[in-house]
Every structure is written in structure tokens, then in C-alpha cells.
Symmetry: C2
Subunit: 682 residues, 2 copies
Amino acid sequence: MDSSLLPFFRPNGIVIIGASTSPQKLGYGVARNLTQSGYTGAIHFVGQSPGELFGRPVHKVLAQVPDPADLAVLVIPAKATPAAIQDCAARGIRAAIILSSGFREAGADGAALEQQCAALARLHGIRLLGPNCVGIIDTHLPFDTSFLQPPMPPQGGIAFVSQSGAFCAAIVDWSRRQGFGFSQIISVGNQVDVSEAEMLSAAAEDEFTQVVAMYMEGVSDGARFVRAAGTVTERKPVVALKVGRSPAGEKAASSHTAALAGSDAAFDAAFAKSGILRAATAEELFDWARALENCPAPAGRRVAVLTDAGGPGVIAADALTAQGLQLATLGRAARALLAARLPPAASVLNPVDMLASASPEDYAFCLSTLLTDRGVDSVLVILPPPPMHSAESVAAAIIPVVRASAKPVVIALLGSHLTASAFESFAGARIPTYPFPERAASALGALFRRAQYVGAQRPQIAARPFEVPFRRMTSSIDLLAAYGIQTADLRLATSAEQAASIAGEIGFPLAMKIASPNIVHKSDAGGVLLNVRDVESVLNGYTQLMDSARASLPQADLLGVHLQPYIFGGQEVIVGAVRDPQFGALVMFGSGGIEAEALNDVAFALAPLGSDEADDLIRRTWAGRRLDGFRNIPPVDRAAARDALVRFSWMVHEHPEIDQIEINPLRVLTTGAVALDVRRGP
Amino acid sequence: MDSSLLPFFRPNGIVIIGASTSPQKLGYGVARNLTQSGYTGAIHFVGQSPGELFGRPVHKVLAQVPDPADLAVLVIPAKATPAAIQDCAARGIRAAIILSSGFREAGADGAALEQQCAALARLHGIRLLGPNCVGIIDTHLPFDTSFLQPPMPPQGGIAFVSQSGAFCAAIVDWSRRQGFGFSQIISVGNQVDVSEAEMLSAAAEDEFTQVVAMYMEGVSDGARFVRAAGTVTERKPVVALKVGRSPAGEKAASSHTAALAGSDAAFDAAFAKSGILRAATAEELFDWARALENCPAPAGRRVAVLTDAGGPGVIAADALTAQGLQLATLGRAARALLAARLPPAASVLNPVDMLASASPEDYAFCLSTLLTDRGVDSVLVILPPPPMHSAESVAAAIIPVVRASAKPVVIALLGSHLTASAFESFAGARIPTYPFPERAASALGALFRRAQYVGAQRPQIAARPFEVPFRRMTSSIDLLAAYGIQTADLRLATSAEQAASIAGEIGFPLAMKIASPNIVHKSDAGGVLLNVRDVESVLNGYTQLMDSARASLPQADLLGVHLQPYIFGGQEVIVGAVRDPQFGALVMFGSGGIEAEALNDVAFALAPLGSDEADDLIRRTWAGRRLDGFRNIPPVDRAAARDALVRFSWMVHEHPEIDQIEINPLRVLTTGAVALDVRRGP
């Protein structure tokens, strides 16, 4: 951890500036929470009404506060904050949490005030968390600088880093009846200084933190976030709920890539690159976090379902399949053991249905048997309110089996009233339960994807793995060529006669395309002729292209006609990039042609790409999978497409001045791949 | 309701056969539940141990039971059931619920026993519910024939019809802490006689039932189910969780249509045709049911979000968009009222963020204002544990506003501990609450889709809207032609010379295709030549097609080569049908060609199709939307495609001997649409 952040996590003494003796005020709640939190360091209060609060003096000014004091918590009006920051500087305090609101979120005046605070903090070397946040709660140290209603959340292994204070408050309150706890709650507020990336790294360093859950609306620095998250996920899982999915088209989309990217593709790509599991809903965020906190990693995707009723077993089977998991095929030994134990009408295939008569001992025996089967990577146990026994007795029987297992087990604990006591037992044993099979299956899916990420090879790509010559690159074609991407020779003719002469040099057949900076979709404007086979066609073609361009776009500036060898065969794909304001160059691969946007058969990844990443990107699209051949479509040179993609990704990575660029199509041939057209925007 | 079902819902006297004085036995639980249920009709017990049970005599045999007695509940071993059915017949009882298990679900012996029961019931005119079920609970009549742990679920407007008894039990127990109740619980078990379709209709007739929720693993008669459900959904909403989604390929897929259909497409199509809202998860099933039970229908998709915190508002906005809903644009008057009421830093755009200081009165005022705005169709209120006020006081302030409104309002009530009392208030007022904004948004989505369905025109198509001549139809081409689908003239040549002669009659250009019953994918086998322009090419082409077919599929039976006029231009689509064992002909429309399966740009609907249904099917695919033109792809005759689809759907509907048939491609031209190739399977 950056040493400047240490006071936020290991403070020797905390000063609450704005402590109040009036229970209506937030400054009272903060004082109450910190005092009651069990914090063993020094606690100081500074406030306007002198006297005593929770057995401690309320100082009039910060200068009066004795040592130790290295973290300030500000609960004062926004406009008083700059002065308080200066007081902190004078008192030698180098870390402050600004709980107050009334800053950037409140309009222009607040934003100016926020900038003033930032400037003062920089000047004095003070780190600021917030403003407009809930503060930090650490359940193990412990301490609580928030004003949330007590009690503190229970101890647990989930660190929650949130860009919404209200969501923090809601989650802390919600979790009280969900059977799980937190190591830390970190509310980052407006992030005038300390960023979500820094807090992610810091939270992951905590020894009690098993998993970091994040609520995000944006990032303060995309590259920094990806780097920080990538480092964290090497050791601990991170799950994130990213909201604020703005629809495509924030940026004027002058390319298919930009039109398809929207702002969410960049976050998807950033999370994929840094190994963050992206949850779709708030509920899923914590469903996953609880499993990741408490379960070992599964070795594969084969899941056994253990149930005492058919219906919920079918629900589980469906949901597991939807998660990309597989129903395990049970081994002969396991099936024999199960068959010997269970009534004849029971199913010893997967899902294993023990029938409603299943006893606690049956549950334990069958679960042990499944966990011993080498073909089983994890188990989903379904426990409805059992008709013959109490759910609590089943819980008591299987908890030791789950705890002794090196394979993950999650419980779909159905009902609520009749299973309340079993719920408490599982929570106490840190075995994740879910009210429905679908949510249990989703948690197993997250465990599997995490295990897959941990197991995958991720060679660190420190530098570009190929040479780029130093030379003047005046056009996009030059640039592609410099990065070793094969392009088709492209020559400009400004008259029909010149076209005929160039055709003589290039040879037939050739392709002719209207050349105009204003015509984005050439074929739409009747601006493309393919497979032109003789001089007469070139002469006529020139006139025809110019005429139809003039007819369809009268204002367009027409430079003439490009001529290019016409290349037969192969398959066409699109390779594009758009610069995301947060994460840099976002590379796209997929189905090109004029229907690119309609088909939406594309995938995105952050540049630069390693060879494996490029392969993965290709395989995520139908256009990419088809490169290996399909039916009577012969296979083409996928390695060449991958190579072009890697080179392209480095090109856009190293040329930040490129906002949008797109090869459409890249023609992938039996050997090699050629960029037939390239367009740069905006 | 079929009068034979009346005793299940309005019994004058219930006999429990297998009543037991031993609390360990299910026969005790059933007696206990019925006695305690508040049932005001006659209650009789028949059991082996004579004596008294809950103040009533236990009769030794059914014949001893006095009048009235018109419904029997059987809780006896499976093998004793046939005799008990005969006893019922002798006693004049015409309706029986068989709770016992040990029938079909237990193997071959059980299945035989079940058939024996069915035969006896038919013989004596007795209706059977079950076996292997939980029975019926009616909270309003009231009565309870189940053995589920008491108490009965609270009263409510949801009827739950379930094919899983265990899932019934779990849901009843779960709902106790969810703040909602049921009108009826109907467990249909193995459905040896009474079907889920009959119970759906019966449940919907209940005056207290506002919505029917179903758990389904299959249907006993697809056509009957669609008919029954379609009738119910004209008056009351039906939501269903259908599980057991088997992967594609149960049926040998000799067509793209069959490969793409799987078994789930049929259920999707059946639910769409009958107006059932299909939930993806168990949680969603009841999230939707609660909203449909209690909320008025929204007039459109424009939703206002009212919140006191930014984060949850953003989550809601994302989720609403994902549901296909829109954030309402607030009117000037509403914005002015909001701005006058709220602090300057509040947002009076949508989501309306009142800030954390929002009082209960602010909530009520702003909600009223939003509900009065003519541009708002529904409101999603977000209520986190409020920092300054109690959630309970906010609930008290807004409940009258919600109840007085003709527009739907749902509440995202975050937290749990601090909002527990507000939760009870909303539940008492029958206002649906959800623990997270995403689930509230999903409920609004269901309300909108239901309103859309109710508002849509659905002309009843009683008969085929066109004539089909009586004539001998020897081939698929004849069949298409008889139903008025234009086909390209297709002539078989069995020698190169004959091909040349036919070509002379048809004229050039033409298409040549290998003719073989064994070659399914002609182009894969090099069996297609297009745009053949002269006699020499026909002669060479014949040899070439026969040679490549022999090379690629040596065992294929080659009939010769088909010749056909080569038709230029237009757009190609696929039109197919596959016979679903439950629902009959399932029609597919979408992107054809050899990549049909890979692109998966297809949609399904049940035959026969009305004109509007056909249009809808077309619009659900990219291939269909493209018919109206896209970029430089000119529009074609969509009406002709729709007409062909309607005719095709009647053709497959009226020819049940067709298992699979596929037009690939249907070439849609500037005027008209022509079936270029048709394949029938298996």
C-alpha cells in the first residue's frame, strides 16, 4: 500500500472534526459509531459546542488535540472544509475523510470548492477520501468512521468499495439479514483525490479480505485502474457491478466500430483484461462475493446436483447449463454407492434425487459420495423444507462434509420460515446458501470463471513483439504497412485516362472505389466496382463512379477513383479500433461488410493484444470461428488474421492521435490476410 | 369450469382416506390441516386405526361415511389406491386427490398402477388429481387438503399451479416472509387425469385470483394448453416458469429449422401465442406475479424514477432500459413543481434525485407530481434506509398516493433491518416492494408487456383465409404451389443431353442443382451451379455436378440434375417448419443460406399464423427487418414474404404428416417472393 494511505487503514488516532452533541446531527452519529466501534487508538473530537461527548472532551480547535492524531474525519459544512484542511496541515495530519456533501454533486459552486480542497491537499501533501462519502468501516481492526445506523456489519471476508454512499448504507443494512459480513466498507465518494483503484489495491492487501466487491459508476483513470485491478486479481478475486451503461453513440460514430462500441464495451474489455468478474445486478454481486469468499476453487465445470425433489433439481440443471457449466457424469462407483443407499425409485444419475424420504444421514452420505467422485468438480445441494425431517438436522449432518471438502459446495436453501434455523447454521459455518437454485448455480458459475482465470496463462507483454521501421507515415495505408499489416496496393486516378494507365500497371482484374473524404460508406453511394476485367470497363467505370457519387452526395469533395488489385476468395472480417476516453484503444473484431452493425457479430478487447488475447477475440465471434472453415466454406489463414490483429492493436496503442480507425474488410486468404480498405475518423 | 372439476373447488364434504392418528404420518398432517383450515363443509376421516381424530370419528371403511361427501383425498400406499377408487365410485364420490407417491415417478410398476387408476377412474367417471402431489389449498373458501406444515399461506390474489409438489412446499414456506399471499395453491402431480391446462382455467375462474403463476415441466396436451391459456389471458395475466430446457437435437435434425428449434422454441412460441409471460427464474415468477396482482396497467413504457440517492437511481435507469422501458421525459410543469420544492442541488430530470435530505412529505409531493405528469406511465420509487427519517414514515406518506393512483408504482425498498417496518406497511397496503432496483424494474417490464398484450389486436383466425384447390400433390413443390406459394419452375434432367434440351425450353440464365434424396446440403457437396448462361455450360455442368456429388458422397442415390430459371436480385430468407410433439407445427423465419445455423438469426411461432403474427415473426429477425431496405440494399416485397409465410403456416398446419420442411432460400423480390429450393424431412 502506498504509505500515504496507511492512516486510512491503520490510524493511530482519529479526530472527528464537526463532532456534535446533538443526536440529530451527522457529527453525533460519527462520534457515536467510532466510540462504539471498538477502535483501540486515540479518539478526538473537535466541535463548536464545547463540553463532553461519549466521555471525551470536545475541543474547540484542532490545534488543541493531543497526540496521536493522524486521520481526520470532516463532518462540517462544505464551505468550512478548506479551512479545516489547512488546520489538518498545521496539526501535521496527512489523511482526511470528507463525509460532507455540497461539493461537485451540488453544482458549479460545489465543484469550485472541491477543486480548492484538492489544491490545498496537494499543497500540503494531504490525502483526501471523498467528499460526499460514507467513510470507512473496518470490522476487524476495528473502526467505523461512518454515520450509518449501528450496529456495524458483522465481520466477514468481503471488502466493499463503493462509489455510492447510499448504496453502501443500503447494502450494510440489507446484509444484516443475509448471513454474511464484511472485512471493510470503503466509500470513495467524489474521489477528489484517493481513487477507487487505490482503494481496491488497499482493500485487497487486508489480511481478512478474501474478495473485493465494487460498486462503480466510472473510473478516475482507466489505465491505472486496469493495472491495479490486474495486480489484485492475481491474488484475490474482484467482482464489480458497473452501472451507468450509456447507450452507444456518446461519440459521433463515424465507423462501425464506434457505433457498436458504446461506452459499455470498454468496461467489459477492461474488466476482462484485469480479471474482474462483472456482475449484472446488485444481488448477483454479493451472491458471487459470498461464494468466492468461502469456497475453494473448482477444478472444472462438472457439477453434481443433490436434491430430495425433482422440480428444484430440474431448475438447477437448467440454470447450470445456462451458466456454461456441465452436469457431471457420475462414475460407476459413485452410482453403485448411491443405488445401494437410496430407495429403488431414487435417481442416481445427475441430478441425484434421493426422494422426499431422504434423511439427514442420506444427505451427508450422498454428498460425501459425490465429492469423492473424480468426475465431479463441485456440488449444488438442494434443500427444500424437508417433509420428514427438519432442515436444521440436514444442515447439521452436511456441514462437516462441506467443510472437510476441497471442492466447492453451495446450498439452495428453499423456503424461509421452516429453514430459518438451517440458514443460521450454514451462515455460521460460512457455507453460502441461496434462496433459489438459479442463484446457487450463478454462484458456481462465478467460482468456475474465477478458477479459469487463475489457471490461465497470461504472459506479461512488456513490449511490442515486432519491429516498426522509422519512416514517415502520411496515410493510414502507410501506417498499416509500417506495422506489418499487408495492404492491397491502392492508386489514385484523377481522370478516366489515368485510371486506364494505372490499370495497365496493376493488371487485371481490379477493384475501383470512389475516393472522397466525405463518403464514408462507399458502397452505399454506388462507389465500388469489383472484378473489373478490361480497359474499357475501367474507362466506363471511372465515369460511372464519379457520376453516381455526384448524384448521391452532391456536396461531396471527389478526389477521383482508387484502383486496387481485385483479390478473390478468402473470407472478409472487420478489424477496428475506437479510442475510449478512459481505457484507451478498444479493438474490435468480427463480421464486416455493410451489415456489420446490424449483425452485431463483434467482440472487443483493450489494446495492445497478446497473441492469446487476439485468438480469444477471434473465437468470440462467428466471423472468427468461420475462419477455420464451415460446411463448404474452406478454412483460411486464421494465424494471419491473429497476427494482423496483434499488429493493429499495437498500432492504435502507440498512436493515441488516432481516434477511430477501421479495416473493413480485412480479407483473410488461404495464406495471409490483406487490408482491402481502411478508414480513419472522425 | 367443467362441472366435473367443481368438487375440487367447492366441495360439500371432504373425506380423507388414510387419515392417521400418528403425528409421524402424512395422513395425520392432512387431517390436521383440513381441520384447522377453517373449512365449513363436512370433514370425514377413513383410516385403519379406529377412534377419534381432531374431534371426529375415524371410519373403518368409506361406506360408513355419512353425507355430504363429494371429494376424496387419498393418503394411502400406492398399491391400495385402485381399491380406494372403486370404493369412491361405490360411495358416489366423483373427485379424488391422490397425494400418495409410488406411481409413474417410481418406475415401471408404479406406472402400471397409475394406468390402472386412470382406467378405473374413466370407467366410473371419477376425476383424479395427482397422484404424487401436494393437493389443493384455497385460502378464501377456505380449505387445505395438503400435508404441508401449517400455517396456511396468507390470503392473496395469486393462484399457483405447480407440476412440482416440492416446489409448492418451498414457495409456500418462502412466501411467508415475502409479504404476499395466495388465492389458491394447486399441485397437479403426475396428471394422470386432471391436467395443468384444466387447473389453469379453473384457477382463473376464482373470483379472488388476480393472476395465475405456473411452474411447468411440460404440457399434457399442447394444443389444449394453448387454447385454455389463450382464453385465460384475455381476462387475467398468467406468468409461467417453464423448466427442463433440453438442448437442441432431441429430434434428428435433418433441417436447419430442426437444428435451431430445440424443444424450448416451441414453449416460447406457445407462451407467446397464448399471452403467457415467461419468467426466467423462480424469483422473477413471483416478482412479476406480485406486480400483476396489485398494480394497474401502465399506458406505455415511460417510467419515472424517484430516489433520494444517485447510485440506486443509476441502477434503476440501467435496468429499466434493459427491460425495453424508457426513462420518461418530464413535462415542464412537473419539473417546475419539483424544482420549487427541492433543494437546488437536487435533480429534477429523470431520475428525480431529491437528495438524502428528502422528507416523507417530499417523497409524497414528488411522487404525486410525477404521477400527474401526462408523460409518465409508471413510477419506480427508490427508498434506501433514509439517513434523516425513518423508512416507515416515508411509507406512511406515500402509501395513500400510490393507492389513489391509476398508474402503477413499485418500490425498490433497499436494506432490510432499518426498512422492516416499512416493508410490512407496503405489504399490508398491497404495494409491491423489491429489495433491489433491478427487480423492481423487471416487475415494471412485466406490467408493460402485459398491458401491451391486452391492448393488442388479436383477430381470431377461425379458418384458412385463402383457398387451396383439390388436387394431387405428389411433391413438396406441388404442395407449395397448391397453397399459393410461388416456386421456380424445376425440371429434372437425367442426362446431359436432356439437360440441354430442358434448358432450351426454360431459357437462360438458369440454375442447376444436383437431384438426390440423400444430399441434404447441396452446396456443401458442390451440387449447385448458378447463372448458367449457355448450352455448353449446361452440358459441362451436368457432368460436373454428377462428378462432384459422386466424389463427395459416393453412396448417394443420384437422380440427375434439376434445372430452374436463375432469378436475379432480391433478398434470401429461410422459411421452415418442424413438428413439435406437443404443440404441432412450429414455423421458423430468418436468415438462410449455409450459415443459417451459425448466425442464429431466426424466430419461431406456432402455426397457423395470422397476417399480424407473420409480420411480427419477420420483424423479430435481422433478415426480416432488412426486407425494408438497408443502406444500399434495396427494399423488397415484404408483403409477399408475409403472405408466403401465412400460406406456408397453413400448409404445415393442415398436413400433420409433414415432420420437417424448409424453403431455403425463399427469394424475396421487388415484387413477389419465390421458393427456390424446398426440402422435406426427415
